[in-house]
Symmetry: C2
Subunit: 887 residues, 2 copies
């Protein structure tokens, strides 16, 4: 029979840390800490399989669950020495969710469960603190009412506010036991009015209600959004942890806190954390009170005037330091821990691998490896490639003038500038509909704000600490964040913020420095990142492990040089059309398009030739003999034509034709579906002279560069958008013909490859024949995705969100390669291509080439290289290494 | 060693009729006639393999060819008793091309070869007719000059015209021997001037020149166009036939003619043909003189004042009748024969299966089958399904008023109306660029006019007979044609035609009746075709043989009824969007699109429901219980919105919103690539209420129709444009929910199927999963072709011709299914779909469903049905039968 419930506590447990699929992360680690003999309040975990069964069976529990829960509850009672529901000395419990992957703040929690009109008096008596007992009771009703009964938060807050006003109180601390008791009466009455039935007094009814609410919360809108953003399948389910309560709010010998075994922002190997005296754990996480530093040195460095735990509770602090060492050594990774001190006794409530910035992740991985705690392979696996993005982007130029108007906690590093907005909805709207860059400014953030936080360049809050919701989420996303900037006054109603004597309104620009906590007026200049040290060390290890080569998509010397700096091993996609938009060239380009005859087109192309040749000379010099894949002209010609009246007149004038001629040509060239129109090699077939000019430019450049004594260049000439072998055959002949001409003219010998993009389903299917002509394939997965899905990237935004939210798309198929559909075509093409030509070079140059999961797929298929934008090159190097380790 | 040359004549031959791949059609049949002992002038055939070798070896002949030609030439000399180049009694030969498939008039021919300044005198002496000898010589120089030496035709005509003017002659018959001799001198001088070398006098040089020219003509532009239009591969090559000359122009006991063993226009089993006394064969084919009827009855029926061959040459006519019987019995098919009578002796120059109209094809096939000459299967194979099209289109309403302004020969049946144009180029331009319907009016047509003839609705010539170029080509194309309408005076320069006292200019409308030869002013009303008799007999046989069901694509009651009349076995595609363009409905449709809220949309949809329900009631009643597949809304919503200012104002007014709102919505909905945009089931996912309304209309209609006591309807509801299983899962749930509602409301039980279009590559690949939900697949091969090729049908026209002419496309992939690319996806989807659900219904509803070769492919894949436009239903029935016979 399936076991539904796993107990822990008292120095042992039924579960282990490797059972996180079954017990969730929290449950598995509570079990592990118990096994390690750490002070964990006893409890039990209801498995994720119960969650799955719950949803499979129309929200009914599996048979036998109630018996197992009763048994486990009895075990807690035995360990704690209190009875659940005992009027004299009641056992109280917390009920918390705990999924396989951490989903901070996404699901619901109920504390102090087991309190009722009777047991509250017992708690008062036992604790000797009636105020504490009734405060706990009102917290319980508030949480339970909200989470389980669906009575919204504001109902309770209103009652409390009215009571405080009546009494003339400002702070909660002014409330005494009678006040809380009165408030409890008000709360219970409200529940009765709202629901038409009284607040449940039976602790067992309370318990099952809370368990049901946690399972229910797995499918709420917030959780669904979070899972979507983090690619967590709904099928995983959550576990429920029921655990004996310990109280950090029973007096000044009580405390609660969160700590990291190393600094999660820098990765420095120094104990790091925050705590609050006389508080419940949720107070730290929610950021309602600004917590104090854990260590003395931290307090000193930050200049905080709050006393550190090291100073206020040295004994307990010492115990905590030991536990830190023990846990990090045990898990061989940086730990994020929660603890509570009840009447001077330390309890551990949670441990898990800590979220960290990319910088921290790198440093921790490299240092742990160098300390022989973990292997190189472990180190490579520990860093999320996507996170590296944070390190690659510019930071603020120290020399740039900064008009600092405020200061908060450096919650997530990086520099960000943008227009300020005051709600997550506006952030989303401005970014997605208007294409603006925004800074989301909030007093504090909550899980409902996730999508807006994602859209923003940076996040600024006026309340909350380094472990507040805003800080944790921003670090996970790699979004710069400044937290708890107390002097920033935010007025949601008028959409303004005041800080440093300046009042800013919605749309004004600020800059955040997530590494220092500074808030600055306007946009501040930035500097390129430093990629030495841990970064280059890890990259070196990655390069030693990976099989896939990493190239870059680049056409400007700037991009090419940047990519080389990031370790690109060649250019996988040089889009030649980008080279024609330069003002000096677009005129000749348009002249070519407007020409009626081949002769006219050739005359215009002759003017473009020297520019294009110089483009390639520059690129070849930068790439120093590394492979350079050059795609011949791809976009439809109408993309080069002007749109406005003035520009049309200008073009007509420059080309020496009537405006009507330009207008007619624009009309002639306009297309119903340009994506599926006269573009790619179809242009080369219609106007071979264009490809002749481009090929000539490539060959002349190659000869020029090798004359310099530069490394010999073997250009890879790539024909786009073919649908079968014949187009390639025709255009390859054109290329070879130009090569012979240039060889004769320059008395030189050329080496080059001719290959093709595989970016249409038909090309993938016909790859076997195409490989008879093609010396390489480059998978253009952007267009391949568009045609395989029948989905225009330009138009998809209108329904992409709906498709993701309805689980039709697991994610944006233009970001992560659809391995089942598009991927099958890639696989077919690779197999058929290799069957014809066993040594055919295979690469990918769609934007998927910089996406870690797509890179893993390319590695599986045995492609030779991926090519991505310059800033994604390091990501690709690490992802390729991880893929190699997996296989 | 390969044998390059095959001789024939003298009652035997080295070849046979089944060697047409090697010898070409003409050569194979000349051999066969020789074997049958028919009077064939001796000759030899140089094989198509020589042509292939010629092009493979850079236009060089294979070794040994010259020896074989010499040997075969000697054999002719022996049989004829004359020597090639003999000054006294020279052997003259014709050199003609002969490809595997007939390509009338496409390639070049040289007659009277072997004449030179010496032999012409020998011919004069032997024939006793110096005028004939020099006329033959000038014809030879003219043809040879044009075909082999590239001296254009008009040079020679000019010399002849000047000579006639000088002499004051009007007709060629006024020219005597000296005149022709003088003209010959002029011709030779012209050749010398043009080429800088004299006209070749050596008969062997002449022969090899002509052979080379015939092989060369295989690749000329005309031949390439013809092959492209008729899907003949260039690799087939042509053979060359060299044959002893016989002369139909040596006096009034000479003649030449063309005849058909049955009437090629009606199929009637009556000998039918035309001849000219004292003429060369080319005179009949070129339509320069209007020939006389072959038989007396024909002469009487047509009221011709020319005497029939039956009357002028009864003996030879009797011989010809015997040969007709012999050849038709031998070949078991209607024959098209060419003959020449030289000094009272009959020679057969050609026989082949005769081209025929669809009507004739049907009648011949049915009658030969009923006479037990051929089997039913043969009869079914004999009729080209595509040709049936001719019979299905309207003919002129006999009751309609006709203003007849002219009369010609009924050269190709059918009625056609259109604007007159006087050149093939204008015809092409008006049709392709302006979308006009045109009638091509020419004095006579030539192979250069092919493309324009294809574009025209009908063809009218003022010169030429039933076997003239215009007539033969028009019948092949199924284009109505009136030939040799002598009273029609055509003025190319002024672009006018005068006939029956009316002068018409370019762009005026006329109507042709190709069945009667009438030319009428303006557009004349038409009638539906009669499909009884031979047609229904053949269709009945086809239905007995075919496995594939044939459905129709129809949404209007008219189309549905037409298709039923043509034998459709259900509706395979009912495109519901077409139902919304009716003025009464488009208003509500636009109201729906303009609505901001689901409530607003539902209000508008409620207004559309009764219309849509009535649509389905009508269709269900017409289809009487046959399956009806209804596709839910497919096109992007912007297709329903107005474009012009006035219309926008009207819509705004009707919807009670500001014009700006309408404009904003139009802008919001506009798409970069509508083909890949927010359409198909993506609309159903975004706005389920639309699909709910449509489904409700279907179900309510089904119940309504069965209440009437009509046949129970099992609607097949089809979801378009899915990319995977999930969309179908979501939308199927919507449909099932509506079904339950309607069942409850109407206390009725519904039967229905839910299935999907497979029209995107991803859907084809994921067909296995999709079949878990789909009860049927319908292959939407239009969109599947667009996405598989990355080719927009709307935009492809710009380069489609280039692609076809460069052999990249074998034909238009939107007409005939690309079996290699798109076809592989269809195959994959069919296999995967059946693996999941063995009894899944499979059909095709793209326009390929009416294309014979695509139907054959569908049959091979074992699909259950094809669906096509109503007028293609009979074509599909026959094609399906042929496909079944093949397998």
């Amino acid at each position: 029979m399936t076991k539904w419930v796993y107990g822990f506590g008292g120095g042992s447990a039924e579960g282990r840390s490797d059972m996180r699929e079954l017990l969730g992360g929290k449950g598995a680690n509570l079990a592990e800490m118990s096994n390690l003999g750490l002070p964990v309040p006893p409890g039990f975990t209801i498995t994720t399989e119960v969650c799955t069964a719950f949803y499979d069976n129309d929200r009914a529990y599996p048979d036998g669950l109630d018996t197992e829960v009763e048994k486990s509850l009895a075990a807690i009672e035995a360990l704690v020495g209190r009875k659940f529901g005992d009027a004299k000395d009641p056992l109280l419990v917390s009920v918390r969710s705990g999924a396989r992957a951490s989903m901070p703040g996404m699901m619901d929690t109920v504390l102090n469960l087991g309190l009722n009109d009777e047991t509250v008096e017992g708690l008062a008596a036992v604790s000797g603190d009636r105020r504490f007992a009734y405060d706990s009771y009102r917290r319980f009703i508030q949480m339970y009412g909200d989470v389980v009964l669906g009575v919204e938060h504001y109902h309770f807050e209103e009652i409390l506010e009215i009571h405080k006003e009546d009494k003339g109180y400002v702070l909660d601390t002014e409330m005494d036991a009678d006040d809380w008791q009165a408030v409890v009466q008000g709360f219970k009455k409200k529940v009765d009015t709202e629901l038409g039935r009284p607040f449940p007094q039976d602790p067992r009814e309370q318990l099952w209600g809370a368990i049901g609410a946690v399972f229910g919360s797995w499918m709420n809108a917030r959780a669904n959004t979070y899972r979507r953003l983090h690619s967590i399948p709904a099928s995983w389910g959550t576990a429920v942890n029921v655990q004996a309560m310990v109280f950090g709010n029973m007096g000044d010998d009580c405390a609660t806190g969160v700590c990291f075994s190393r600094n999660p922002s820098t990765g420095e190997d120094r104990f790091y954390g925050e705590y609050l005296i006389n508080a419940q754990g949720e107070d730290v996480v929610a950021g309602i009170r600004t917590p104090a530093p854990l260590t003395k040195i931290e307090r000193e460095e930050s200049g905080s005037d709050l006393r550190s735990m090291e100073e206020t509770m040295p004994g307990v602090f010492g115990e905590l330091c030991d536990i830190r060492d023990k846990l990090e050594a045990h898990y061989r990774d940086m730990q994020d821990m929660e603890f509570t001190v009840q009447s001077g006794k330390l309890y551990m409530l949670q441990t898990r691998a800590g979220k960290r910035t990319a910088k921290a992740a790198l440093r921790i991985a490299v240092e742990m490896c160098e300390a022989n705690v973990i292997t190189r392979e472990d180190a490579l696996r520990r860093v999320d490639p996507a996170q590296l993005d944070q390190l690659l982007h510019p930071t603020l130029d120290p020399a740039a003038e900064r008009k600092v108007i405020g200061m908060g906690l450096p919650a997530s590093p990086g520099a960000a500038s943008g227009q300020i907005v005051f709600s997550a909805e506006v952030a989303e709207d401005w970014v997605h509909s208007r294409g603006h860059k925004v800074i989301l400014v909030r007093i504090e953030t909550s899980p409902e704000d996730i999508a807006g936080m994602h859209a923003a360049e940076g996040i600024l809050t006026s309340r909350g600490g380094m472990t507040s919701h805003a800080a944790v989420v921003a670090r996970g996303m790699g979004t710069p964040c400044v937290c708890g900037a107390g002097q920033v006054k935010i007025d949601y109603a008028n959409k303004t913020m005041m800080s440093g004597g300046v009042t800013l309104k919605e749309g004004d620009v600020i800059t955040l420095d997530g590494a220092t906590g500074e808030v600055m007026l306007g946009e501040v200049a930035t500097l390129k990142p430093d990629l030495s040290g841990d970064f280059s060390q890890l990259m070196e290890w990655a390069d030693g492990v990976r099989r896939l080569k990493v190239r870059t998509n680049a056409e400007t010397p700037d991009d090419a040089a940047t990519a080389r700096g990031f370790g690109a091993e060649g250019i996988g996609l040089c889009r030649t059309e980008h080279m024609f938009f330069d003002p000096a060239r677009i005129i000749s380009m348009r002249e070519m398009i407007l020409a009626d005859t081949e002769k006219g087109r050739r005359a215009a192309l002759d003017k473009l030739l020297p520019y294009q040749r110089q483009d390639f000379i520059d690129l070849f010099r930068i790439m120093k003999g590394l492979p350079v894949t050059i795609r011949l002209l791809d976009p439809p010609l109408h993309e080069f034509l002007p749109h406005g009246d003035a520009e049309i007149a200008e073009v007509a004038n420059a080309a020496g034709v009537a405006e009507a001629v330009v207008r007619r040509r624009i009309l002639e060239l306009s297309e119903a579906n340009p994506m599926l129109g006269h573009r790619g090699c179809r242009l080369g077939i219609s106007y071979p002279e264009i490809y002749e000019m481009q090929t000539r430019a490539i060959f002349e450049a190659a000869i020029e560069v090798s004359k310099d004594g530069g490394d010999p260049v073997i250009p890879e000439i790539m024909i786009p958008l073919i649908i079968g072998k014949k187009e390639l055959e025709i255009l390859k002949a054109v290329i070879i013909n130009v090569a012979s001409e240039v060889e004769a003219e320059k008395s030189a010998k050329l080496e080059f490859l001719v290959g093709t993009m595989i970016e249409l389903p038909r090309a993938a299917l016909k790859a076997g024949e195409i490989a008879e002509e093609a010396e390489f394939f480059s998978f253009g997965t952007n267009d391949l995705t568009q045609t395989t899905y029948g989905l225009s990237r330009d138009d998809a935004s209108r329904f992409l969100d709906t498709y993701i939210s309805k689980d039709i798309f697991a994610g944006d198929p233009f970001v992560s390669l659809d391995q089942e559909g598009v991927g099958e075509l890639v696989r077919i093409a690779a197999e058929r291509g290799r069957k014809t030509r066993s040594d055919i070079k295979l690469g990918i140059c769609g934007e998927h080439g910089g996406d870690p999961s797509s890179i893993a797929f390319c590695d599986q298929l045995g492609l030779d290289y991926v090519s991505c934008s310059p800033y994604r090159v390091p990501i690709a190097r690490l992802a390729a290494a991880q893929a190699a380790l997996k296989s």
